[in-house]
Symmetry: C2
Subunit: 72 residues, 2 copies
DNA sequence: ACAAAATGTCAAGTATGCATTGCAAAAAGA
DNA sequence: TCTTTTTGCAATGCATACTTGACATTTTGT
């Protein structure tokens, strides 16, 4: 196993900038609060569809919110 | 009523621009040929992780390759 | 025309995203 | 402090992404 790619995000900060709660963002994009929370804390990687609508809701480009990081 | 968001992509063209086969792209991003084929023909929406590594492999930004479209 | 490479597709199985419910802790506001 | 809002976390279940293997069809190259 060479280079493992870890999926990360800057959701928490971007959400704070818009002054939105997890629940408010969740309603905007049509998922539950728990789903937003889980994505935010890195519990799992969202679908590209969900990730895209989060981008739209927060007024950010994809690469500003989501990225891959190398792990050792 | 339900303004349904449909997940679409421009993978086929972008892949052709790089002169890569589905199999070559698949190996680059670490999935199977069938998975690339299925994403390309819109059979399903990839994970944000897979979508991102496809972007990297094709040298494109996310929004250049993937987008949401309104349908009725 | 022929062979090889590329693509479409299908079935069955595994992995994981996401919903739902519920409870507890932390933060914010009065 | 007391109360409300927000967030974390866990279990169960359904939906869907992704794998593996296999076969048919189309495209490309000689």
């Amino acid at each position: 196993m060479a280079t493992e790619q870890i999926f990360k995000n800057r959701l928490k900060v971007a959400r704070a900038e818009k002054d939105l709660s997890q629940d408010e963002l969740a309603r905007l994009v049509g998922v539950t609060r728990q789903t937003i929370g889980a994505v935010e804390t890195g519990q799992y990687c969202p679908s590209a569809r969900l990730a895209l609508s989060i981008c739209h809701a927060l007024g950010k480009k994809f690469e500003e919110l989501f990225y891959l990081e190398e792990s050792k």
